[in-house]
C-alpha cells in the first residue's frame, strides 16, 4: 500500500495515495462563518470544492499554529472532497499489509499515524457547531 507521509503540528500522518487527488500550494482558502476550529474553510480547485481540515487542531485539540507552508493535500472519494493542511511532505512510503493490518511506520523515532478520508470526515462531522474555544 503506497502511502503519502506528511507532517502537521508535530504529528506524522500517512494517507493512502489512492485517495489523493493532488498536492497543491498557494491555494486561496475561503473561510466559513461560524465554523469550528480545525475546519479552516473551503478550497475551490478545478471545479471542485474541498473542505479544509487542520488535523493538528482536531487531533491534538490545540490552537492552530500558523505554518510557513501552505501545502494542502486534496483527497477525493465517493464524491466527497477534503483538503488536509500539511507543514511538510515527507514522501511516499510503501506499506506491507499483514492480515489486512498495515505495518507500523515510524519516522525519526516517531510513529506515523495512518489516517483515512472517512476517518477525517467523521472527525469533521463530530466537531461541535460554531467557533467553540479550545
Amino acid at each position: 500500500m503506497e502511502t503519502l507521509v506528511f507532517k502537521r503540528s508535530g504529528l506524522y500522518l500517512g494517507i493512502e495515495i489512492e485517495f489523493i487527488r493532488q498536492v497543491v500550494d498557494d491555494v486561496a482558502i475561503a473561510p466559513v462563518p461560524l465554523a469550528p476550529p480545525g475546519y479552516t474553510g473551503l478550497i475551490y480547485h478545478r471545479g471542485e470544492l474541498f473542505e479544509v481540515a487542520d488535523l493538528g487542531v482536531i487531533i491534538k485539540k490545540e490552537k492552530a499554529v500558523k505554518s510557513k507552508s501552505a501545502l494542502k493535500i486534496l483527497l477525493k472519494w465517493n464524491q466527497k472532497g477534503i483538503a488536509l493542511a500539511a507543514d511538510e511532505i515527507i514522501g511516499l512510503k510503501s506499506l506491507k499489509e499483514n492480515n489486512n493490518e498495515p505495518e507500523k511506520l515510524t519516522f525519526e523515532g516517531k510513529t506515523i499515524e495512518i489516517i483515512t478520508p472517512e476517518g477525517v470526515w467523521k472527525m469533521l462531522s463530530e466537531l461541535p457547531y460554531g467557533p467553540c474555544q479550545i
Binding site: L4, I17, V23, V24, D25, L92
Partner: protein, 419 residues
C-alpha cells in the same frame, strides 16, 4: 569894636585931660582978675587933675594885671577852672588872650593826659588779660608741643616699624615677582604644550577623518556585495520556489503514476527521478541559500563590524574633537591665565614700585617726624622763652601802670572846669 592900644589911649586921655585943663584954666582966668592967682589955681587944678588921671589910668592897668596875676597864681596851684575876663581891646587883652589860650591848651593837654592815662590803664588791664591768655595759650602750646613731640617720637617709631614692615613686604613682593615670572614661564610652557597637544589632536582628527573616509571606501564593496547578495538571495528564493514546485509536481506525478498502477510504473520512475533531481536541486538551493545566508551573515557581521568601527572611530573622532575643543578651551584658558598672570605680574611690579615709593615716603616721613620732634622741642624752648618774655612784659606793664597811676595822680592835681 576896633582895637585901641594903651599908648593911643594914653595920648587920647592926655589930650582930653589937657582940653579939660585948658578949659578950666580958661574959665578960671575968665572969672579971676588976678593973673597969678589964676595961674596958681590952674596949676593946682592941673596937678590935681594930673594926679587923679594918672592914678585912675594906672589903676585900671594894674587892676587888670593883678587879676591876671591872681588867675596865674591859681593856675599854678592847679586850678584851671578859672576864667579870664577880657574887657578892653589893648595889649593886655592880647596877654589875657594868650594866657587864656595857654590855660585852654593846658586843659586840653590835661584832659588828653587823663584820657591817655585812663586808656593806658585800660590797655594795661587788657594787655594783662591778653598776656594771661597768651601765657595760658603758651602753656597749652607747650603742652601741645610736648604731646606733638611725644606723638612725633611715637610717629617716628611707628614709621620706622612700618618702614621695616614695608621693607619685609617689599622683599616678599620681590619674591612674588620672581615666582610670578616663574609662573609666567611655566604657563608659557603649558601654552606651548597645549598648542602642541591641540595640533596633535587636530592631526589625529584629520587622520581619523581620512580613516573614516577610507573605511567608507572599504565598506562600499561590502555594501555592493551585500546588494549583489540580496539579488542572489532573490534568485535562490526563486530557485527554491522552483524546486518546491518541481518537487510538488514530481510528487503529484508520482501519486498519479502510483494510481495508474502497472501502466504508470515507467512514469513513476521518471517522476521519481524528477523528484530526486528536484530534491537535489532543492538541497543545492538550500545549500546555496545556506552559503548565501552565511555570506549574508558574515556580510552583516562585516557591515556591523564596519559600522561599529565607524561608530567607534566616529566616537573616537568626537572624543578627539572634544579633546581638541578641550585643548582649545584649555589653550584659551591658558592664554587668559597667561594674560591675567602677565597683568598680575605687571601690577605686582607696579605695586613693588609703589611700595618702593611708599618706602621712600616713609623715610621722608621718618625724617619729617624727627624734624618735627626737634621743632616741637624748639617750640617748647621757644614757648618757655616766650613765657619769660611775657613775664618781662608783665613787669613792664606793671611799671607802665605805676606810671599811668602817677600820671593820673598828677592830672588830679589840676582842677578843670566842671570837676
Amino acid at each position: 569894636m576896633g582895637r585901641t592900644s594903651i599908648k593911643n589911649k594914653l595920648i587920647l586921655s592926655f589930650l582930653a585931660f589937657l582940653l579939660i585943663l585948658l578949659s578950666v584954666v580958661g574959665f578960671v582966668n575968665f572969672w579971676s582978675k588976678d593973673f597969678y592967682l589964676a595961674q596958681a589955681i590952674s596949676a593946682a587944678m592941673a596937678l590935681a587933675s594930673g594926679i587923679i588921671f594918672g592914678s585912675m589910668f594906672s589903676e585900671s592897668i594894674v587892676k587888670r594885671l593883678q587879676r591876671l596875676s591872681n588867675v596865674a597864681t591859681e593856675i599854678s596851684g592847679g586850678d584851671l577852672s578859672k576864667e579870664i575876663s577880657m574887657d578892653s581891646h589893648d595889649e593886655i587883652r592880647d596877654l589875657e588872650e594868650v594866657f587864656a589860650k595857654m590855660v585852654n591848651d593846658l586843659r586840653v593837654i590835661l584832659s588828653e593826659m587823663n584820657q591817655v592815662a585812663t586808656q593806658v590803664q585800660q590797655t594795661n588791664k587788657h594787655l594783662a588779660g591778653l598776656i594771661g591768655e597768651v601765657l595760658s595759650k603758651s602753656h597749652e602750646i607747650d603742652e601741645a608741643a610736648s604731646t606733638i613731640a611725644r606723638g612725633s617720637e611715637d610717629q617716628t617709631m611707628i614709621v620706622q616699624k612700618t618702614a621695616i614692615i614695608v621693607d619685609k613686604g617689599l622683599e616678599r613682593m620681590d619674591e612674588m615677582v620672581k615666582k610670578s615670572a616663574q609662573t609666567v614661564s611655566k604657563i608659557a610652557e603649558a601654552q606651548s604644550k597645549s598648542e602642541a597637544g591641540e595640533k596633535s589632536a587636530r592631526e589625529t582628527l584629520k587622520y581619523l577623518d581620512g580613516v573614516l573616509k577610507q573605511m567608507a571606501e572599504y565598506a562600499e564593496p561590502v555594501h555592493r556585495l551585500s546588494r549583489e547578495m540580496e539579488k542572489i538571495k532573490t534568485v535562490v528564493s526563486v530557485m527554491d520556489e522552483l524546486s518546491q514546485k518541481t518537487d510538488l509536481l514530481s510528487l503529484n506525478a508520482s501519486i498519479e503514476a502510483t494510481r495508474a498502477g502497472e501502466s504508470g510504473k515507467g512514469f513513476a520512475l521518471v517522476a521519481n527521478e524528477i523528484r530526486a533531481i528536484s530534491e537535489n536541486s532543492r538541497q543545492s538551493t538550500k545549500e546555496i541559500g545556506r552559503i548565501v545566508e552565511n555570506v549574508f551573515k558574515n556580510k552583516i557581521a562585516a557591515i556591523e563590524s564596519l559600522e561599529k568601527s565607524e561608530e567607534s572611530i566616529a566616537k573616537g573622532r568626537e572624543t578627539i574633537r572634544s579633546i581638541v575643543s578641550t585643548f582649545e578651551d584649555t589653550l584659551s584658558g591658558v592664554r587668559d591665565i597667561f594674560s591675567e598672570v602677565g597683568e598680575v605680574e605687571k601690577l605686582t611690579i607696579e605695586q613693588v614700585n609703589q611700595m618702593k615709593g611708599i618706602q621712600g615716603h616713609f623715610h621722608e616721613l621718618s625724617v619729617l617726624a624727627r624734624e618735627n620732634f626737634v621743632l616741637t622741642q624748639k617750640t617748647t624752648i621757644g614757648t618757655k622763652g616766650q613765657e619769660e618774655d611775657l613775664k618781662r612784659i608783665v613787669n613792664e606793664i606793671k611799671t607802665l601802670e605805676t606810671l599811668s597811676d602817677k600820671m593820673l595822680k598828677t592830672q588830679k592835681r589840676f582842677k578843670l572846669p566842671g570837676n
